[in-house]
Subunit: 238 residues, 2 copies
DNA sequence: CGTAACATTGAGGTCGGTCAACCCGCGTGG
DNA sequence: CCACGCGGGTTGACCGACCTCAATGTTACG
């Protein structure tokens, strides 16, 4: 079956999306095609610069756009009726958001830092997809990946203690993002982290301090986290 | 822009997926195509019958299959190292699971009731997708829909009280599932609900009782819930 | 009728939320 | 140079919602 998918992979694209490319290294995805998607997006999209802490998508806005973060950090969120804010996700350089097909329910989005964002109309992308079959396949792959990511997040959120959530968050950020070796630079505030994890800033703060206190991490300038013992973190995460 | 998408929609399929079909009624999706996808799946897939409480997908199993529930109820889940179980989602008749493109992380799946399930190899589906462009588009739509659904769940889970979660769950189940008018038949046990919402069975039980006690719902034979005041529920959900 | 699985109910402990005070770095302006 | 304010972060005291553990009740099914 693996060989089957490998054969198919060269014949046309969607196969590569539906079947995991087990034979390739985890970091090197089908690059050539990915680049072609990027080229298309850069061709039909328009680059916009946003300052930090600016709303770029309003809640309930028509979801006819796709956004690719070129640089900076963006988050999607929703404000509940009682004022609480829930962050749907953080999007770093290279990430794409706006993939969820509306059904009316749209998340708002705002910049966390200054950001350069590529904005693409879905309708234009759809027009391209009619001639370029691989394009739809790419979007499918990206959406499936995002789905897997969000499902992972559901697991993190639903049955875990504050410590497990914070540790899970740190590990997630170290996998993505500006992780030079064994440390992460967190672009978001404590409030953002709290709203992402469904905790309060006080709890986030206390938990981070507790982790530093037991020698697992090292915090410098509030936003920079160094891992002193990643194995301990992995264990704490469950 | 809306007119643009409307024009495109008839020219080819993916446009309809990427752009929300604003002009069509919410309940009536592109039916003809949806049926064609179903026909394909029934052609290349195989129907399997499972008794209740049987594991049909193991954790870390290769994710090369797609599953469509014909009848019955299935859930996906993950067992944590300390024995806690987290349910990823419930899938009722007509629902499809297995869309998330693995990346190694796979959820297990088991039947809650007796179930009839259509199993399709993704590689076969991918082969079909090469000749039938609309197919990939469909999968994209389904995946995007599932993504939106899971994101909704993240909001429900992360910052809500037990009552809000339970109410949210009841309302979700009444939208899908066997909701004859103003009541729902819950196929899953209290333990399942608890594992889905990240609560304990005791809390679920107490919350349901509290809702019945204040006249909002009516519980018969443990699994049947009648809504006496849906507006109150919507309000409680925030 | 008896058993086992499922569900409810109660009592008590704990984790994380709430509220409030304080700290710290930074920019502004005197 | 300091005073000041401001936003973000930390710390502490207290409290309540939810978890834990244990007993009891109910339903399904042989």
């Amino acid at each position: 079956m693996l060989t089957h998918s490998a054969v198919l992979k060269n014949a046309f694209h969607p196969a590569a999306l539906l079947d995991q490319p087990v034979q390739s290294k985890p970091t090197s995805e089908p690059q050539a095609d990915e680049e072609s998607l990027d080229r298309w997006m850069q061709l039909v999209g328009s680059v916009t610069y946003y300052p930090r802490r600016v709303q770029i998508v309003h809640e309930d806005e028509a979801a006819d756009r796709l956004y690719k973060v070129i640089s900076g950090t963006v988050c999607t969120y929703k404000v509940l009726s009682d004022g609480r804010r829930q962050i749907g996700g953080f999007y770093l350089a290279g990430d794409i958001f706006g993939l969820e097909s509306g059904e009316g329910h749209t998340l708002a989005a705002e910049t966390i830092t200054n950001a350069k964002v590529l904005v693409i109309r879905k309708s234009v992308l759809a027009a391209l997809a009619s001639r370029n079959t691989a394009l739809t396949g790419h979007l499918l792959m990206l959406t499936a990946r995002e789905l897997a990511h969000v499902q992972e997040r559901v697991l993190l959120l639903s049955s875990k203690s504050a410590q497990e959530r914070v540790v899970g968050f740190l590990l997630e950020m170290s996998k993505r993002g500006t992780s030079s070796g064994n440390s992460v630079e967190l672009p978001m505030s404590r409030q953002d982290i709290a709203d992402y994890l469904g905790l309060t800033i006080e709890t986030v703060s206390r938990t981070l301090w507790a982790l530093e206190n037991c020698g697992t991490i090292e915090i410098s300038r509030r936003r920079r986290i160094r891992f002193r013992s990643r194995s301990t973190l992995v264990r704490l995460q469950q």
